[in-house]
């Protein structure tokens, strides 16, 4: 991979972006630690979900509620967005002009919004089938886990918009760069959480 020495997790911008390398290192390490704390939250919710699988209380279970097709589409959207964010990161690292960066970011943002929209539609269908959290412990556990991921994506999208705003106002300064690097970590991390969700919740449930 990169020959430049890695100073922090995620993409390293290297010597060409030496402005504020040191604070960046701290910022990104700190964000990484935060992600890990968040990861523990997700981990515990996963464990809780598994433990609550039996609590359907006679209500609908995974087979009645989940649809493979929409999950698959959501997965593809999120995966692609991870890739487009990667392209944005490269544009940040190797290009001086903001245009390709902004374009990639906007594509990523659209994918993120599409993901949320699709997920909402999915939940709506579930509600239609009687899959409301007040119905059973199992559905409650589902709705305490999966929408939390969705909320994270939403937060990431808002952050992305804020960063686009910062680019518009301040240009590509070191604050924006650090912000983008951190957001990249969040974005990829959400993809990882999604892998766990589709494997354990959806595919596991549909097996």
């Amino acid at each position: 991979m990169t020959r430049t020495a890695m100073r922090h997790p995620g993409l390293n911008l290297g010597p060409a972006h030496a402005d504020a390398e040191d604070t960046r290192e701290e910022m990104i390490f700190g964000f990484w630690v935060f992600m890990m704390s968040d990861f523990v939250i997700f981990g515990l919710l996963f464990a809780t979900y598994v433990v609550m699988l039996g609590g359907t209380a006679g209500g609908p279970g995974p087979h009645e509620l989940f649809e493979m097709k929409s999950v698959f589409i959501e997965t593809l959207i999120l995966l692609t967005s991870s890739f487009t964010f990667g392209m944005a990161s490269l544009a940040l690292k190797y290009r001086e002009d903001t245009k390709p960066l902004v374009i990639w970011l906007i594509v990523t943002l659209l994918l993120g919004v599409a993901f949320i929209a699709y997920e909402l539609k999915d939940f709506h269908t579930m509600f239609g089938k009687g899959g409301v959290p007040s119905r059973s412990g199992f559905i409650s556990a589902f709705f305490s886990l999966v929408p939390l991921h969705g909320l994270h994506v939403l937060a990431a999208c808002i952050w992305l918009i804020a960063l686009l705003g910062q680019i518009a106002v301040h240009g590509l300064d070191s604050f924006v760069k650090t912000g983008l690097l951190r957001l990249a970590i969040l974005w990829h991390f959400l993809d990882i959480v999604w892998i766990c969700i589709f494997s354990l919740v959806y595919l596991g449930g549909l097996t």
Binding site: M1, R3, V33, L44, E96, D97
Partner: protein, 121 residues
């Protein structure tokens, strides 16, 4: 960095240019690997007629490999590095998660078995 500087492309040194190609290739490989590792479990669940236990196993295996792929290609966490704090951090997190998650499953299923068998799925 002044605003004017933003409008022009940066001159890449040879080394940087090579790095760019390598990194871009990394993302593409990552995407491809992730795609394959997504398709396999979805395909298995949708079409294959195998017994659940194997199926769970393969889903889990694909998921784990895909997580490693994401860490490696998207988050750039590698083994070869002078500074290992982030890798240590991930491993420590995994340890804690195993303890807490595993402990939770052990304790609660044990409790279910002893007092509310209806909750065992």
């Amino acid at each position: 960095m002044s605003r004017r500087a933003l409008s022009k492309k940066r001159e890449l040194s040879d080394e940087e240019a090579k790095e760019l190609v390598a990194e871009r290739r990394g993302y593409v490989w990552g995407l491809l690997a992730a795609l394959v590792l997504t398709l396999i479990p979805f395909g298995l669940v949708a079409y294959a007629e195998i017994e659940p236990l194997t199926l769970y196993g393969s889903i889990a295996a694909c998921a784990i490999v895909q997580i490693v792929v994401h860490f490696r290609f998207f988050l750039h966490i590698t083994l070869a590095r002078n500074k290992r704090e982030d890798l240590q951090l991930i491993l420590f997190t995994l340890l804690i998660l195993t303890i807490m998650g595993g402990g939770t499953l052990w304790i609660l299923f044990n409790l279910y078995y002893r007092m509310m068998p209806g909750m065992i799925p």
